[in-house]
């Protein structure tokens, strides 16, 4: 069975799907990514689907599941590179991929993740500045 490679670039895991995946390959990717997120401590995942000429409900569901698993493991997922015809078809199929962040390409996806991470850190700093208990 073929396997989709997962690359680590800085704080981000990059997955570029270049093959017409069998269902088992998609499920394997889900497992591989979860393991890599934990092993690497990465906080962002980018899945590039620009080479996919279709996304059916199975692949769509797998992407949504990957995003949910990542979030539980403290990583954000961004799906990038969806072709226009794929977007039109997905919506008509009835799959709008709720809960999935998207960007038009890898570069914009990386910017999105960096921005979100910075905002998260800011929130955390704000929390730290506030005293835990306010006394009158």
């Amino acid at each position: 069975m073929e396997r989709v490679p997962v690359l680590k670039i800085g704080d981000i895991l990059l997955v570029s799907i270049q093959i017409d995946m069998e269902d088992q390959v998609a499920l394997q990717l889900q497992e591989d990514l979860a393991e890599r997120i934990v092993a690497s401590g990465c906080h962002g995942v980018i899945i590039d689907i620009s080479a996919l000429d279709i996304v059916d409900s199975f692949v769509g569901r797998t992407l949504a599941t990957i995003a949910s698993i990542s979030r539980v493991l403290d990583a954000e997922t961004v799906v990038v590179g969806m072709r226009p015809a794929v977007a039109i078809t997905l919506v008509e199929l009835g799959l709008s991929l709720p809960g999935i962040r998207t960007a038009l390409n890898v570069e914009l996806g990386m910017e999105l993740l960096a921005r979100e991470r910075a905002e998260d850190d800011e929130d955390r700093d704000d929390d730290a500045d506030e005293p835990a208990v306010t006394t009158p």
Binding site: E22, D53, I54, F58, I88, T89, L93, G94
Partner: protein, 136 residues
């Protein structure tokens, strides 16, 4: 409607065969000059229905035929299995209804993606679904 070429048939008994169905439908869709969006819709519908044949029908066959109706060229795809059949067709065609743990978009979604959709099912005997997409 007349058949405009020899039918090509694929036996669907594994995940790999679903990939082969997608590839065959894509090749024929390009050959009859469907638009890119219509190719994408038809291949996506074929992927959903071939997976249903495998998962719910226990395997079966997919037959792809070039057709003509005098003015326009098109593609007809017939998915046939000898599985358990569908007891409640209206329910099975409802968005979100599933017995297989999927999203419940396969049948209803595929119907939206094609021009003609016919289903013939008998409990205990099997299911045959025929879809057609015409060039615009």
């Amino acid at each position: 409607m007349t058949a405009g070429g020899a039918a090509e048939r694929i036996a669907v008994t594994s995940d790999q065969d679903v990939v082969r169905v997608r590839q065959l439908v894509r090749t024929v869709a390009v050959a009859v000059k469907l638009s890119l969006v219509d190719q994408t819709k038809l291949v996506t519908a074929a992927s959903e229905l071939a997976r249903n044949t495998l998962v719910y029908g226990g395997g079966g066959t997919v037959e792809v035929t070039r057709v003509e109706n005098g003015r326009r060229a098109g593609i007809q795809i017939v998915f046939a299995d000898q599985g358990p059949g569908i007891p409640d067709l209206d329910l099975a065609l409802t968005d979100g209804y599933t017995t297989g743990g999927g999203l419940g978009l396969g049948l209803s979604g595929a119907r939206r993606l094609v021009d003609e959709f016919a289903i013939d099912t008998a409990v205990g005997k099997g299911t045959t679904i025929s879809v057609t997409k015409w060039c615009r």
